[in-house]
């Protein structure tokens, strides 16, 4: 379903992905782990088509199509969903209106009828339960004044409504306490399906206790340095990243150092 070959990408002069190859089959859950600055989030952003990153080499085939040729909205319409590490705030636009607009765009792309606001209420109410959210958040502006946990749950709500074929979760656990993480993970687990693949990007192993992956890949300096089954994550928990990537990258660094994060202008 997704075939990444020798993918290279950079920001400005700085090369961040230095040849990534990865195949994700239908219904599989792949975890991408690695220390700060290893390129995990960049991989997620590049797959979603963020123009802040330039693809300098390699290829990505998605459901038989050349993914790199598609605009971000075309990728979304083709069933790729990115749960953002830092969900963006949009003042004055209600969550309900935003969700319904997105839902309708994706339906249109599939050749389906758009739904009106009344119909949509019925659809979204079901999904709210998955992430344990109240209906009143539908009338709040998109992510405005949401707590960290609410923002992440809102991402999973969107995932549930838009029903993608490939969902990429970018550090969905970051900034969440254990209860909030469990709620989010429960939501994701309910959305696992034999026709839906996941790429779960995370720094810590703890999320993978709840969302159990089929495959684990470790990224370092823009390359996959090790792949394995779910036990690899446990091994990392125990030993850290040093034994795989060398002490020079594992030392220090705050949660976002070196991570290419879009600026809020």
């Amino acid at each position: 379903m997704l075939d990444i070959k020798n993918l290279k990408a950079s920001v400005g002069d700085k090369e961040i992905l230095r040849g990534i190859s990865l195949s994700v089959g239908k219904g599989e859950v792949h975890a991408i782990m690695g220390p700060n600055g290893s390129g995990k989030s960049t991989l997620a952003q590049v797959l979603a088509g963020n123009p802040a990153f330039e693809v300098t080499g390699g290829s990505v085939t998605y459901a038989g199509r050349d993914l790199l040729e598609l605009a971000p909205e075309e990728r979304a319409q083709a069933g790729i969903f990115l749960a953002f590490q830092y969900p963006v705030e949009i003042p004055g636009v209600t969550n309900a209106y935003f969700l319904r607009s997105a839902y309708n765009e994706i339906r249109k792309a599939r050749g389906e009828e758009e739904v009106d606001p009344m119909e949509f209420v019925g659809i979204v109410e079901e999904k709210l339960k998955l992430v344990d959210m109240d209906a009143d958040m539908l009338n709040r502006s998109v992510n405005m004044g949401f707590s960290g946990g609410e923002k992440k749950r809102n991402e999973i709500l969107q995932l549930a409504v838009l029903e993608p074929k490939l969902a990429i979760l970018d550090e969905t656990d970051s900034g969440l306490d254990i209860d909030a993480m469990r709620t989010v993970a429960d939501g994701v687990n309910k959305l696992r399906d034999k026709n839906r693949s996941f790429i779960v990007v995370t720094h810590y192993q703890r999320l993978l206790n709840y969302i159990v992956p089929d495959h684990v890949h470790v990224l370092s300096q823009g390359r996959i340095v090790k792949s394995g089954g779910k036990q690899l994550a446990l091994e990392l928990e125990e030993k850290g990243y040093d034994w795989l990537v060398g002490a020079h990258v594992a030392a220090g660094g705050s949660a976002s150092s070196g991570q290419p994060v879009l600026s809020r202008a």
Partner: protein
Amino acid sequence: MSSQIDSLIAREYAAGFVTDIEQDTLPPGLNEDVVREISRLKNEPPFMLEWRLKAYRRWLTMKEPHWPNVKYPPIDYQGASYFSAPRKKTPLGSLEEVDPEILKTYEKLGIPLLEQKRLAGVAVDAIFDSVSVGTTMREELAKHGIVFCSFGEAVHSHPELVEKYLGSVVPYSDNFFAALNSAVFSDGSFCYIPKGVRSPMELSTYFRINAADTGQFERTLIVADEGAYVSYLEGCTAPKRDTNQLHAAVVELVALKGATVKYSTVQNWYAGDKEGKGGIYNFVTKRGKAFENAKISWTQVETGSAITWKYPSVILQGDNSTGEFYSVAVVNNKQQADTGTKMIHVGKNTKSTIVSKGISAGQGNNSYRGRVFVSPKADGARNYTQCDSMLVGNRCGAHTFPYIEVANKNSIVEHEASTSKIGEDQIFYLKQRGLSAEQAVSMIVSGFCKEVFKELPMEFALEAQQLLGITLEGSVG
């Protein structure tokens, strides 16, 4: 970095067509004879001619204002024609006999005038090149004692009301453009709501400029008698021409004791092309006077014109009167806008609210200019101003010029301002959810303008939102 938010390509201006009809147009130039001729052509009573002449003489002594934050080449006031009207005369009140080309024009603009196709619940006065060509729903309104007709007609049918209120809010000496308008205005809308009457429908004026090389001068006068209520809408469009045309209108609102006047504008004059060629110079004076317990509310959505220069204002004359100003002003390409309001607190316990949303895209330049004045006697006066600017791209400008003068110690004046920029991250977020760049910008901007849109009547709000989308179309790459 502006990889997405890039050069600006505005979509075709849908209202930019020209109607081919015979017109009577005075030769270019302005002098006392032209003023007399306009008054004669309109068969006006002597008080009108006198007033026009006083205005003209005053205008000669005045200078064009250059304090607004806009730039344009000098206007040749002798180069324009000051009167243009469709040749075919229409008997008053018989819309069926209006030139079919003109009816077609309004239909194309989505404003059908003939009975069978009329907009439900809205009465329209259609102004074509400064002359009223027809007013709908008159019989229905007359049942309530409401007078709604062209200004030219009101001068004959209700001279006492015109004489009493004309210039009572915007005197002919008020400013350069108001003086010019007072001297040469050819028509406009007149509306009177009697004591205690609530207008059963929205009243509206639809301005259409058609002729080339003519200045456009209309005058709207709305009088709401004690306890009356009226909601008034104004729309405007013009053909695409590559010369600039001057539009200098005056709108006067009078809200007597306990009356409410709500005036909404969706301004979509031709804005000129991408290079800034052509477009309307919209130099307009709008002001209302609110007497005791009265309320005047201005809502404007300004998307058109090459240059916009207007400050819909309220004189809070009576105690406990209320003034409101809700504005969305959008500039794209090379448009310039210097717009805002004045709230003049004279009476005690007067209240005013200003919410201004300025959006700048392309190389557009947007200025908010507002004056809040509290007179020494205005005990308990209260003003709240919120002034937000949004930038789309890196080549546009947003400016805020608030003037606050408070001469009373028992009053409260608040001013809040913010400037934000549509972020690449916001656009990418929405695109990742399946929306196009244009839908994304439109959604972000609509959210930004929400507080103003909710003040507009329903149908108008939808139109405004669409117009905003069209104006900003192409503002992201």
